[in-house]
């Protein structure tokens, strides 16, 4: 019988342009905060999962989990580096969950991070593009923005999503991030500035038609961390444990053109269904969600495929303000990838950290009122590997 698992602490290293720290330094910053938050004291950590997609390529360091175990002085903890593209963070949390559920470990630290800003933008774009299908996509000059753009055009033509809806999501996420001290982007934007004014043509230029500058998340440095433990000992550390109620993961066809319906994110669907089934909950039971908006269109499509809105209708919910922080179903109260930032290996862990703070009532000015149950999904590749979580406050 698998053990129930709880999250007892969360921490983040400010996302942004972190010329002040190395990748290890960022890991440590986030981990130290999470460990403090968890009030572990002298209790040893049994296992460490480190999530980073490009540590080797960008910072010339491999075996980062082994290195961090030493750096944090938590040896002899078991340690693994987890790589699943942009879903590395979700996979790392999943692996931490599994190690506790299986009885392998009692107290597990997860740290995710990336240092992306030291290399030129075109090099980052190319490294990220290596996730795509080598012969069906990459070789033709595909980049993630170009895939997202083709996906967006299909979505617009099939479901009536308009540029306005994408811009509304960007404005919302920027507003939310203004209330998030750890976010990369602290900059208000307006619908007039990026969409309705004639100047929007310069302010929000086309990058990969029809996607524009403000439809794409920034390139960020940063790290995030959570501490998990067996639920039955959680009360030793906190009176507000957050239960990992459901976990799901699924892959999908790699090359987008080969998917029977390229506008359906089957990995989001399947992993979300698994997570809800395990949690014995449904999308309707959730109070909010953190979704993977590497591109604004993904907030729309993921919210549908995860089950929060009927397929092809989420843009109407955006129009009605339902997904605002003040709305009926807030999406990305943290600011999402768009404004919180996207240090690739950190994101999945940051989503879980945000859910943890929200469910504990510790999200400050961006607190979702009465948050008791939350969902997040971490999107790898272009949706060919997705990890989903359902978290809830302990009863």
């Amino acid at each position: 019988m698998p053990r129930e698992v709880a999250i007892i602490g969360a921490g983040m290293a400010q996302f942004g342009n972190r010329t002040d720290k190395t990748l290890m330094g960022l890991f440590k910053e986030a981990a130290t905060r999470a460990i403090d938050h968890a009030r572990l004291g002298d209790v040893p950590i049994s296992a460490l999962y480190v999530s980073t997609m490009l540590a080797g390529e960008l910072t010339n360091q491999t075996a980062t989990a082994s290195a961090l175990a030493d750096e944090l002085c938590i040896i002899p903890a078991a340690a693994d580096r987890v790589e699943n593209g942009p879903a590395s963070g979700g996979s790392a949390v999943k692996n931490a969950y599994l190690s506790i559920a299986a009885g392998f470990a009692d107290i597990v630290l997860v740290v995710g991070g990336e240092k992306m800003r030291e290399v030129p933008g075109d090099k980052i774009t190319d490294l990220i593009a290596t996730m795509t299908h080598p012969t069906a996509e990459y070789i033709h000059g595909v980049t993630l923005p170009s895939l997202a753009a083709m996906f967006t055009r299909l979505y617009m033509n099939k479901y009536g999503v308009e540029r306005k809806h994408l811009s509304m999501i960007a404005v919302k996420n920027h507003d939310n991030a203004l209330l998030n001290p750890y976010a990369h982007i602290h900059r208000k934007i307006t619908l007039e500035g990026i969409y309705s004014s004639p100047e929007a043509e310069v302010n929000n230029p086309i990058i990969a038609d029809p996607l524009r500058l403000f439809d794409m998340c920034p390139v960020s440095d940063g790290a995030a961390s959570v501490v998990l433990c067996a639920a039955d000992i959680a009360k030793k550390f906190t009176d507000k444990p957050v239960i990992v109620a459901g976990v799901g993961q699924a892959t999908d066809i790699h090359a987008i053109p080969q998917r029977p319906d390229p506008t359906t994110l089957n990995a989001v669907k399947n992993s979300a269904q698994q997570a809800f089934k395990m949690a014995k909950l449904t999308p309707k039971d959730m109070d909010f969600a953190e979704l993977h908006d590497a591109f604004t269109i993904l907030e729309i499509s993921e919210s549908e495929d995860a089950g929060f809105f009927e397929k092809g209708t989420a843009h109407k919910a955006v129009e009605e303000g339902i997904t605002l922080l003040s709305g009926k179903f807030p999406i990305n109260p943290s600011g999402g990838l768009k404004a919180r930032g996207h240090p690739v290996g950190a994101t999945g862990v940051a989503q879980v950290a945000e859910l943890t703070w929200q469910l504990r009532g510790e999200a400050g000015e961006r607190q979702v009122k009465g948050a008791k149950k939350g969902f997040c999904c971490n999107f790898g590749g272009f949706g060919n590997n997705v990890v989903s979580f359902v978290l809830r406050r302990e009863n």
């Binding site: 075109d122 593009a129 070789i139 000059g141 083709m150 990058i207 990969a208 066809i253 053109p257 029977p260």
Partner: protein, 113 residues
């Protein structure tokens, strides 16, 4: 190899068509795939004009699109056309698609019929 024939793979069990060829079908899991000629024309179902082009691509913007063939197969490739519209008919043409570390790489591009 100088060829203008696009040869894909068709799943004998569920009839899904793939280009480039693959040896198992991710939809029905069959390993029985036969070669199939994709044909001389397909319809553009989506595209993008990419202004942030990767290294090794010489022109800006790079137009990429997904072309659907009558056998159901869909293929992603560069579109060489002055004007691009969803629904336009395109034919596959074997050409240099980009340079990788100064070496020319060939593949199928699409041109208007």
């Amino acid at each position: 190899m100088a060829t203008n024939q696009m040869i894909g793979a068709k799943c004998a069990k569920c009839h899904a068509v793939y280009y480039p060829k693959r040896d198992c079908c991710p939809i029905c899991r069959s390993i029985e795939l036969e070669e199939t000629d994709m044909g001389d024309s397909g319809e553009l179902i989506t595209y993008t004009e990419l202004w942030a082009v990767p290294k090794g691509i010489s022109h800006m913007p790079l137009i990429l699109g997904i072309v659907q063939f009558s056998n159901g197969g869909r293929v992603l490739g560069q579109i060489s056309a002055k004007e691009v519209k969803v629904g336009m008919l395109l034919k596959p043409v074997w050409a240099v698609v980009r340079k990788v570390q100064e070496k020319e790489v060939y593949g199928f591009k699409f041109e208007p019929i």
